[in-house]
Structure formats: C-alpha cells, structure tokens
C-alpha cells in the first residue's frame, strides 16, 4: 500500500474536523432562523485575529485565548442579531439574505483598515512541531485543533440535547410557531443561537491560528466550504454538519492526492451537487 496514503488519510481527518466545527456554527444559525450568515467566514477571521493579538500583545498562547474568542464572538454574534438581523426578520426575504453579506464586507474591510492586509502568523505557539509516527508525520497543532474541534462539537451536541435551553433551540429549529406556543421566547433563542454559532466559529479560529496564516480575507474560502458542508449535511442538523465536514475533508485531500490538486475544490463542490441531486435535504437533514 502506498505509504503516502496513510498520511493523507490522517490529514483528511485533521482538516475535516476543523471544517466541521466551522460548519456547525453556521448550521445552527441557519436552522434556527433561516438566515444564511454570509459573515461566517469573517467571524472565523475575527477569532483568528483575537488569538493573534492576545498572543502578540499579552503573550497569551492561542490555547488559552479559546474562551476569550468564544466570549467575544458570542457577544458580537448576539449583538449583530439584536441590532441588525432582527430588524430585517420581518422584512422581505432579499433583505434578510443581503444583510449578513453587508456585515461580511464591513468586517473584512474594517480588519484591513485596523490591521492592514498583511499576513500574520503566531510564531511560537505552545503546541508546535511534528510527531513522527512511522510513515505519518502528525502535526501537533493540527492534531490539537482537530481534537479540540471534535470535543467542542460533542459538547455543543450535548448542550442542545440535554439542557433545557438547548432543547428550546432545537424546538425553535423544528417549528417556530409551535415553540412560540409552548412559551419559548423565540427572540431570545434567536439571539442566543446567533451568539453560540458565532462563538463556535470563533473557537475554530483560535484553533486555526495555531498553524494557519491570519489576514483579513482568510474567511473567504473557509466560509464558502462551510456553506457547502451545511447543505451537504442538511440544514440545521448538527450531526449532519459534523459528518459532512469530515467527509469533505476526505474528498478534498484524497481527491487532490489521487486526481489532481488543481481540481480538488471542483471535486468537493461536485460531491455536494451530486448529494443534493440525489437527496436534496442533505445527508441528515429533515
């Protein structure tokens, strides 16, 4: 067996689990409010920058910035919902689609203005280096990022299924009117979901900052892939988003290895198109 394949399989899991975490935040917002958060990639970027600045100015390792990124992005997400998105919820559908797009452009360019378009890297994170495991070189920061992503994903799933607030969120996702009738404050749930969705991708940003380069437009491709993953997994399904994220990690890495790296993203989106053609609601969607 080609020894290189084992390495690629490992890499697939590593990148796939981070994709999953990014996508879970998006699917939560989408499922609860039917709002496509086009600014999702920018939330990722902000998470990365928060980790970067805490590292540069206060020498705080990205590992310890995770709660800060989560908290800041939670507040930002909830605020964006409260002051911007909630206003258009009762408006035309087009306005709802466009408003997060506007937020995305605003955030990316605000970042350019505040921090210049230059590329930043966290040079000496606590977790760095590679473990040599036979034929496989396991990057330690990537491993930590993917392990962390899996744990956080499991955590959010538990929160949604086992806690009262979590169940309320799921209820609103399933049927908004009924949830309202059951006495759930849907406005509060909306804000909470937006906040939690943003916090999740903020955490993903903190993880990514340990090994990826940071700059204002970094959200672009990650955001695009996360839309694809959400649609593949099924809108609103957390398990679906997690599964689809891992799947896309495999498709991208193995597709690039076996076919042609030039087409690896084409293959990703092709897989998405085929799935949606066979099963429009996605893998685990309702």
């Amino acid at each position: 067996m080609d020894s290189g394949v084992l390495q690629q399989l490992v890499n697939s899991l590593l990148i796939g689990s981070v994709y999953s975490l990014v996508a879970i935040g998006l699917t939560l917002i989408w499922g609860v409010m039917n709002i496509i958060n086009f600014a999702h990639g920018e939330f990722l970027m902000l998470g990365m920058f928060i980790a970067f600045w805490f590292y540069t100015l206060l020498h705080l390792d990205p590992l310890f910035s995770i709660p800060i990124c989560a908290a800041v992005l939670f507040i930002l997400g909830a605020a964006i919902y409260r002051f911007i998105v909630s206003k258009v919820m009762s408006g035309p559908l087009l306005a709802q689609l466009v408003v997060t797009f506007g937020v995305s452009i605003f955030l990316a360019n605000l970042a350019v203005m505040l921090w210049t378009p230059d590329f930043r890297l966290i040079e000496k994170p606590l977790l760095s280096g590679t473990w040599s495991l036979g034929a496989v070189q396991l990057s330690i920061p990537k491993f930590a990022a993917s392990l962390g992503s899996v744990l956080v994903s499991a955590g959010i799933l538990l929160f949604l299924k086992k806690t009262k607030t979590g169940k309320a969120i799921l209820a609103v996702e399933m049927n908004r009117e009924s949830a309202l009738l059951m006495g759930i404050n849907t406005e509060r749930i909306n804000a909470l979901s937006f906040g939690v969705g943003a916090a999740l991708v903020g955490i993903a940003g903190a993880f990514l900052s340990m090994y990826y380069y940071i700059y204002p437009q970094v959200g672009g491709l990650f955001g695009l892939i996360s839309f694809c993953i959400v649609a593949l997994g099924g809108f609103g399904s957390i398990e679906g988003a997690f599964l689809a994220g891992i799947l896309i990690g495999f498709v991208q890495t193995l597709g690039g290895y076996y076919f042609d790296p030039a087409y690896k993203y084409a293959i990703v989106f092709l897989v998405y198109l085929i799935t949606v053609w066979i099963r429009p609601q996605g893998l685990l969607g309702w």
Binding site: Q7, I15, F119, Y213, L221, D260, P261, A262, K264
Partner: protein, 426 residues
C-alpha cells in the same frame, strides 16, 4: 445719452482697456497641466499587501519626477516634464481587487471617466492581460513593469509595453543556474518537481519550465498545478514527497508560499534545492515564516545588495525608507520603473496624444546607469514591445535576508547548496 452716461462709458471703457492684457493672459495662458496616468493594483483582496507595495514604488517614482532630486534617474533633476512646461504626473489609482474582470472594468473607467493618457500596473499577469486588452481597444498606451507572464507581450498588441523581465527569461535563468551549479560547484541535478499556481502567471511558468527541462535534459517527475488560496496543501506536498525530485521549482503568490513552507517543514519535504518565483520575495513572506524561509532561492530583478556596484540603488532606497519606513522590496522596485518610462516618452513626444507617445515609447533608450537594476537599460524590441535589456538574478534567503547568489560573477554571497534538511536545523 446724457453726461452721466458718457462719463460712465469712459470710466467703464478705460477700466476695461487697462484690464484687457490681464484678462487676455488669463484666458489664453496655458496653466501648468497635470498629466494623468492610471495605476491599477490589487489594493484590497488577498493580494492587498502586494498591491500596497507596488503602489508605493510607483508613488515614489512620480514624486521624483515631479520634484527636483539630485539623482541619476530620468527627469529627476527637473520639476515635472520640462518639454511640457513643467507639467506634473498625477496617478489615478484604481483597485482591481486582484481579479481580472475588475482589471478590465477599472482600465475602462480611468480612461473614459478620469481621462488618463496612459496606464501602469497591474502586478497579476491575469489582471494585466484583461486591463491591457481594454486599453488596446481604447488606444491608450500601457507600460507594465511588474507582470511577468511571457504571453502578455506575445499577443501582438500595439499599445502595450513591458519593461521588466518575463517568466520565460526567469525560467531560463533557473536552468542556466542549474547548469552553472554543475559546472562550477560540481553539484549534479537530475530530476525536477514543478509546482505552480493555476492562473496566467503560474501556468505559463509551468509551460516554460517544462520546455526548458526538455531542452536541457532534466526529468520532470512531478508536475502539479494548484489553487493559490487553498485552505490546505497536504495533498500537493504528499505527491511531491512521493515523487522525490532533486530540485523543486515553485511559482507561487505569497499566500501559497507561506502555506507550502509550513507544510514542507511539517511533512519533512527536503529537495536538494528550491528555485522559486514571486511569492517568496514578497515583503510579507519572511516576517511570516521567519527562519523557515532560509535557503530558498528566488528569481529577482532587484536586491538591496546591488548598491555595492550601483550607489543609485542605495540613494533611492534611502528616500523610500524615509517615506515609508521600510526597505524597498522587489515589487516596489519593479513598479518604480513604469512611471519613468512613461514620463520620459511623453516628455520626448512633447504631447500626451496617444499615437505620439507610442512612437516615443518605441524610441525609448534609457541607459543602464539610470535604472536601479543590473540591466543595460530600457529599449523595446519593435515586434513584441518587450525591453530587450531586462534580465534577472537569483537571490537566496540567508539568515532571513535576500542575498544575490547568481550569476556567480555578480554574487554578493555564496549559494548554500544542498538545501539543509528541516530536522538538521535548529
């Protein structure tokens, strides 16, 4: 008509007569003209840091042309263009956002709406391609000194001129270097891995390298094209590790240069040498990767150590550093030249009328001591409008600094070969 009216007529008439000369001179005097040139660069988007770099180079050049500087550069010692009454150059900046479709739109906009008489830019060959197609249609001259795809000057365009070397020249340089390495340093190379980003720039480099590999008798064991803004390049590096080439030739922009360097280190990819283009010489590259960038060899037109043989380089860099707080980079240095070529041509043509400027551009003959590169000067061949004196050098990163290592006769430092393995470094 009474007494009062006649008096009024006399007073008004004499006042008019006295002010006549002043009025006439105001109406018919030519005010100091501004000559507008369009500057197209990726000022936002993924390559915004590069765009800013290029913009600074061009801005610095315009400042020198418009002001009075004791430098051996065209039109530096006079203020503005002397043959046009001291007219000054003004650059109308246009943001291409790094996309070819915007290159075309912005070129059209600056010509039709802002009335520019010429265009410079746009760094990315794919964007320069569309922008220059627009200017060709509009019959406006375009002088490019920062895009390297050879196809740009192979389209038979009449209004497009390129000052800097193209990737055919750079690729040829890389192979000449490998041959020299064998002859002089006795280091043999047999297999090559070609890695390039998939737009106009990278794909053409790939073609050129394949061509020369065949000509020079090297075996290409990996030929990989990829998307510059990838989230992950482990597949690409996996394929390279499997193919195990002696030398890697990589044509990238800055984002992929950074990502690949990190992945090469992570996956332990150790070729005997890395010959690269563009991304690795961006000012943002070394600050991002620090010591991991050491020993990479990059094609260049400019290096600060040229100052040893050309003091002009040090003087220009001093001005640049004073204004922007950083040393001049290769990008800034390349974009620095186009405004001079334009100003020189317009000055000789004594008009901004496009046909006359194009004629003047064809007659350009700027001597080698008036450019900040190791060139014999600027002179365009009549068929392709490419500067026949444009040549490249190779620099290597040593201790996080770029040092000229080839041609060996002009080298500031000795080349370090082979590429020290990742594990053996600190």
């Amino acid at each position: 008509m009474g007494n009062v009216t006649r008096r009024r007529f006399l007073i008004g008439g004499s006042a008019l007569a006295v002010s006549m000369p002043w009025l006439v001179s105001e109406t018919f005097a030519a005010p100091t003209k501004t000559i507008k040139i369009g500057g197209l660069y990726p000022l936002t988007g993924n390559l915004a840091s590069t765009g800013l770099d290029c913009k600074r180079g061009a801005e610095m050049a315009v400042e020198i042309i418009n002001g009075k500087y004791d430098l051996n550069l065209p039109l530096a010692k006079t203020e503005g263009l002397p043959n046009l009454g001291g007219a000054k150059i003004e650059v109308v900046w246009a943001d291409t956002k790094g996309e070819p479709k915007n290159g075309q739109a912005e070129a059209e906009r600056v010509v039709t709406q802002d009335g520019v008489v010429g265009v410079i830019g746009a760094y990315q060959s794919a964007v320069t391609k569309t922008a220059s197609q627009a200017t060709e249609r509009l019959r406006i001259p375009y002088v490019c000194s920062d895009s390297s795809s050879p196809t740009l000057t192979e389209r038979g365009l009449k209004y497009f001129f390129r000052v800097s070397p193209h990737d055919g020249i750079f690729a040829h340089d890389q192979f000449n270097f490998l041959k020299d390495l064998e002859k002089v340093k006795k280091q043999k190379v047999q297999t090559l891995g070609l890695l390039y980003e998939n737009t106009e720039f990278g794909s053409n480099v790939g073609k050129q390298e394949n061509k020369y590999a065949q000509e020079y008798g090297y075996q290409v064991v990996a030929d990989i094209s990829y998307t510059a803004n990838a989230t992950d390049v482990t597949s690409e590096v996996g394929r390279l590790t499997k193919a195990n080439p002696d030398v890697l030739m990589h044509a990238s922009y800055i984002t992929d240069a950074i990502l690949f360097t990190k992945t090469f280190k992570e996956m332990g990819f150790n070729p005997k040498g890395m010959l690269t283009m563009a991304g690795y010489i961006e000012p943002g590259y070394l600050p991002a990767v620090k010591a991991d960038g050491d020993y990479v060899i990059v094609r260049s037109t400019f290096a600060l150590d040229l100052a040893k043989s050309k003091p002009l380089v040090a003087k220009v860099n001093e001005l640049f550093k004073k204004k922007y707080g950083v040393d001049m980079s290769e990008n800034a240095a390349r974009s620095f030249t186009a405004p001079f070529v334009f100003a020189d041509a317009i000055n000789r043509a004594r008009t901004t009328e496009p046909e006359a400027v194009v004629k003047a551009l064809h007659e350009t003959n700027i001597p080698g001591d008036q450019v900040i590169y190791p060139w014999k000067g600027v002179r365009f061949d009549p068929q392709f409008n490419q500067n026949i004196y444009a040549t490249g050098t190779l620099v290597q990163v040593q201790n996080q600094q770029y040092a000229t290592v080839w041609p060996f006769e002009a080298a500031a430092k000795d080349v370090v070969w082979p590429f020290p393995a990742w594990k053996s470094r600190k």
